[in-house]
């Protein structure tokens, strides 16, 4: 008679004890991977019991016996490692585990080389449980392992380039697609010579640290060689003094290479101003006054592109443009006779000189592009199949082509 109610009472009293919060499993602290230091990472297993009203607090101290300071607080059903957070070859925790990164802050500075002690408090209502104390020491890393795939691709592409150059040296007869704009260079220079009017060549808005400006200066060298042979006047107004200095040397060398050092004029390259629209106004003035027969716009451009090309078009000049500034391409295409789009500008030096080494580089670039196109098709197919069959196995392949930080 007494036993059943007593058992029921014990069950009722013991129910909270039976439902006690479990301590976080697999809790560990480690130095954050692939970072500049002053940061620690915390990892622990996910639990089916994780929910919004169960709170996790992170406490840290610089001594094992404390005093511990609370650094963060969040619901227990948050802070998971999601697909795409880390590459499979450099992940601090499995997908689905909890992961928290603690960076140095004014509240709690983290010094490299010094051990820190971390523990978690899980609280739900009146109940709470502490994890074990985990120790970790922060240190800066020398290599970002998450970007290993990036480095491998860069090295592979470099290898392909060098192999293509070696192949081109052995067999220099590499066919190149016709680029109308570059074929027209000779025509433009001939036209200027016949009309007795100068050639205007612009190297764009960029400095020598921009690849498009370097490409523009290389083309200038080729153009200057032809100009030297035809004995035509060349004008190269500049926005950047360093580019001007480089172009002066390039043009001088081109005249020497063409066997016409006497025809070289020091003033052919001159500085106007660094300001965008002041430069544009000055060049427009040159176009309207001196009426060059051929205008070359090579390099990177911004809003001034249409102002330059439309003015040039109004003077009746033949205009050849080449830029990697895709936002200005529509203006060049509508106002110029020929436009080199994007990488055609970079290919120009190879095209004009037909040097085997330079032509070989183009082939290497083409291999790179073919690889990217294949990856696009393969990646799209694998990602789609993965979604359809609800499997993450293809992520092992897809991760190889992702950019992780």
């Amino acid at each position: 008679m007494i036993i059943a109610p007593t058992l029921l009472l014990l069950l009722f009293l013991g129910a909270p004890a039976l439902a006690a919060i479990p301590a976080p499993e697999g809790f560990r602290a480690l130095d954050t991977l692939s970072d500049a230091g002053k940061s620690l990472s915390l990892v622990w297993n996910a639990s089916p019991a994780d929910r919004a009203d169960r709170i996790v607090q992170v406490w840290m101290a610089d001594r094992p016996d404390g005093p511990f300071k609370k650094l963060a607080e969040f619901p227990s059903n948050t802070r998971y490692v999601k697909p795409g957070d880390f590459p499979w070859w450099a992940q601090p925790a499995r997908k689905g585990d909890h992961y928290v990164k603690l960076a140095a802050s004014p509240t709690f500075p983290i010094e490299d080389g010094k051990p820190y002690f971390v523990k978690l408090l899980v609280r739900e209502g009146d109940q709470e449980v502490w994890s074990e104390v985990a120790e970790a020491t922060s240190a800066p890393n020398v290599f970002n392992t998450a970007q290993l795939n990036n480095l491998v691709f860069v090295l592979a592409f470099t290898g392909v380039l060098l192999a293509s150059i070696a192949a081109a040296r052995r067999n220099p007869h590499v066919p190149l697609r016709r680029i109308a704009g570059l074929d027209a260079v000779e025509e433009a220079i001939g036209r200027s010579t016949e009309m007795g009017r100068p050639i205007l060549y612009l190297t764009g808005s960029g400095g020598m640290d921009e690849v498009s400006t370097i490409a523009a200066t290389v083309i200038l060298g080729e153009v200057a060689k032809k100009v030297a042979r035809y004995d035509t006047s060349l004008k190269v107004p500049h926005r950047d003094p360093i580019v001007m200095a480089v172009c002066q040397e390039i043009v001088k060398e081109s005249y020497v290479a063409a066997g016409r050092p006497d025809a070289y004029k020091e003033d052919s390259n001159f500085f106007i101003t660094s300001d965008q629209f002041s430069y544009t106004a000055a060049v427009d003035g040159i176009m309207l006054r001196e009426k060059p027969a051929a205008n070359f716009f090579m390099g990177s451009y911004f809003a001034e592109s249409l102002l330059l090309t439309e003015t040039g078009a109004s003077t009746g000049a033949i205009q050849i443009a080449g830029t990697d500034s895709d936002h200005q391409l529509p203006f060049f295409v509508t106002t110029c006779d020929y436009t080199l789009i994007g990488e055609e500008l970079y290919a120009a030096s190879a095209y004009l000189s037909r040097e085997p080494v330079l032509v070989g580089t183009l082939r290497g670039q083409d291999f790179g592009k073919a690889f990217i196109m294949s990856v696009l098709v393969l990646g799209t197919a694998l990602a789609t199949i993965g979604v359809v069959v609800d499997s993450s196995i293809f992520n092992y392949v897809l991760d190889l082509f992702k950019d992780f930080k």
Partner: protein, 271 residues
Amino acid sequence: MIGIDRRIIFLLIAAAVLLPLLRPFGLPIKVSPEVRGVYEYIEALPERSVFLLSFDFDPSSKPELEPQAVALLRHAFRKNLRVIGMTHWLTGTGLADDVFSRVAAETGKERGKDYVFLGWSPGAGSLIIAMGQDLYKAFPSDYTKTPTQGMPVLEGVRSLRDVNYMVSLAAGSSGIEMWYVFGKDKYRFEMAGGSTGVIAPGLYPFLRSGQINGLIGGLQGAAEYETLIKRKGTATAGMDAQSATHFVIIILVLLCNMFYFVLRGEKGKAR
């Protein structure tokens, strides 16, 4: 007619720009998802969050980008965010400071307490890296030469990692792409872009891939943002002129094609 004097076209454009400014017709402005993305992110930021606004333009792009800056600042100040301003373009410094002073005065915000304009420092990408390591080393003082260390508005802000949201208003290079590569990619703050109408289409790949979470393109984008914050400004006023100009160009292009086909037909008949 097909070889019409350019000056007639220029006159028509001038009329299309001027007449609506004198006699506005005021049409509703539809808001695009890319502009809404910026608005909703700022709207969701808690009070006193840190908002970095980079004025990466100069006076030539003022007509398109200043209305964007004004609208963003009005929104940020209304939300009581802490605003940090700066610029990568030396020639834009005076303009940027003027915008800050004007909008702060109308919203009752105080320099040093609610906002700070850091001014310009050389370096472009390396300046962003320097700001990502230590903001106070990158900018020891603000535009008014007040030391940044200890400023109430910068309390708790050590570097770009402490920025909650960032918008770059860009007219060209030293803009959005640079902020993404050297800033968001390394220091993991969320960012959006505002740009001139010309470079906006080139930024859609960044928007589609999530590298920026919103894009305010040109005067139209600024007008959309003014609609969202329910405060009309110069962008909304300019949309009538922009509408008229677009239509004049469309009519001219259609007329030109009409004459072209008529001429081609006549040449064909003559043969």
